[in-house]
Symmetry: C2
Subunit: 334 residues, 2 copies
């Protein structure tokens, strides 16, 4: 049995406005013992996701994170003790362990993952980010060769892969991101055709210039004004894949939705469709095989942003919500 | 060749706010002569549609109606002179003749329709209204037996048929309409399970009571606050068929869209899809056959609201936008 302390990050209280370090505290507890059917895992790499912020508020696809408890979050972890068939010490799993060094979790809530180098790819291109990009673009957005595809939060973990998959499917790809450095990288390194810096450019005007024939597929990670600008530039029969609304997670809920709904939806015969990765569990192996072949062939470049130290996890999430990362952000714990 | 005068209703100017009688004028012109490839028709029954109002402003699926010209509108008309192969005197056609007694139109812009009793069914259940209800509900909304289906403008030409088709497909049906008389009729005559009077009831609360298991399909004719109330009550994987936004046609465009977009679209994995009837031209015969069999079997009751006299057409549209009709409104011209 593991002995020693278990450092944990607690959510002190449900944030009312912008997330701040004061919403979290570092605590030390005992390393738990797994019950029958459980495994004890040591957390290695914590995944940071904009959705973490939405979970705090509730009203998502999972129950709210209660104040005073360990902050929820997915991680790659190593089994250190197993009381469940099919799991052995040394196995790697992906699970919602929360932000802590050790967790005892039901084996049925853990997905075994293969050892690989670098392990971080299990959280980026072969994790939720890569699979979300894959299914959201291909199964929801359904781009055809020659289509114009726009993706927001384009330098983020999902957007950076969406754009690259769209390119290899023969589309013209426009990324929307916050910062000239991000925009430069999208074009020079990731092969995007155009990049729009929403912090300095008028997005609607920039879209009209970059997509003179209109937008066929918009992969929406942000909602709000950028969704509205895309709506006004969609082509007839365009598809909007609704993946997230990061512009609306960190603060009060917006007073109103984007203009043009439902008028433009009708006139242009648009389809807006929301999705969550687990909707596509039955296609997971096919998706992973495609992603692996594309990475191996150099057709998808994987960007990661790895910080160190459990104590830095709150700042890592706050920074992610402010858009400071390029590619998939994670925190190395052990 | 026909001689005599041709009474016409002109759109005097593009309305800036609510439509009023002053936006129209009655004019008399000569009966036109058809050119080669054209037919001269005598207008019998003019179709009134909320979309007529949207056409005036432009930015729809057709070009705007220019001020000073005959107001656009579909009608059932009779051919009085043909200079086009395939059309003979006495044939009935559906075409955008505009609001006038006679029109010379390209034969290719006219659809021949069969003589039937009552002729008005060509504009209601077998016309744009019935076909829009059919395809929008079945091909876009895709209800399954046992689903809860909500339709707005439920006592209107489209909504009254949507609800009846949903009932015969085994769904629980809730209609939203403006007025206790309409709500009573939906339940007593058209077989709806519940009816909500949006003028006197809080729609969100009424929906929670009428649809305790949530909404699976929402057929949206109105947009605005009612769309928002439905969004908040949709079930996971629900479908919203976007048919129109009548709440937003007669006045200034809304400052904002409904709240909950895209957040609820993502979390509930909703699909919002806009459509226009012509998208389903290839399924038209099948739809008409179904509608005819349902009407013959008494499974669909057809409500019509027929006014008389070309000069009353502006008032008929203004009244339709104010919701005074039950069922399909039309004006008998000759």
């Amino acid at each position: 049995m593991a002995t020693g302390t278990n450092r944990q990050i607690l959510l002190v209280e449900t944030p009312k406005g912008k997330l701040s370090p004061q919403n979290f505290s570092l605590s030390e507890g005992a390393i738990p013992s797994p019950k029958d059917g459980e495994i004890l895992v040591r957390v290695k790499l914590i995944s940071l996701d904009a959705a973490n912020r939405a979970w705090m508020q509730g009203a998502t696809y999972r129950s709210a994170v209660e104040s005073g408890t360990v902050m929820a979050g997915g991680s790659i972890s190593e089994v250190v003790e197993s009381k469940a068939p099919g799991f052995a010490t040394g196995d790697l799993v992906f699970a919602d362990t929360g932000w802590q060094e050790y967790a005892a979790i039901p084996a049925k809530a853990a997905d075994k993952v293969p050892a690989m180098e670098p392990m971080s790819h299990l959280l980026s291109v072969y994790g939720i980010a890569g699979l979300t990009a894959y299914h959201g673009l291909l199964d929801v957005g359904k781009p055809k060769p020659g289509d114009t595809v726009v993706v927001s939060a384009a330098a983020g973990s999902v957007g950076s892969i969406v754009g690259q998959i769209a390119k290899l499917k023969g589309c013209t790809v426009i990324g929307i991101a916050g910062g000239d450095d991000k925009c430069a990288l999208l074009k020079s390194e990731l092969g995007f055709d155009h990049a729009i810096n929403y912090k300095t450019e008028a997005v609607g005007k920039a879209l009209r210039a970059a997509a003179p024939k209109g937008i066929d597929v918009y992969f929406d990670n942000v909602g709000g004004d950028i969704l509205e600008a895309c709506l006004f530039n969609m082509n007839n029969y365009g598809r909007i894949a609704c993946c997230g609304a990061v512009s609306q997670y960190d603060g009060a809920p917006p007073a109103h939705g984007p203009r043009g709904i439902p008028g433009l939806i009708v006139v242009k015969r648009l389809t807006m469709q929301g999705f969550i990765l687990t909707d596509f569990n039955d296609k997971r192996e096919e998706a992973l095989a495609d992603l692996q072949s594309w990475v191996a062939a150099g057709k998808i470049k994987v960007r990661e942003d790895i910080l160190s130290g459990l104590e830095n996890t709150p700042a890592a999430l706050i920074g992610l919500l402010a858009g400071e990362n390029i590619g998939k952000r994670m925190v190395k714990v052990s």
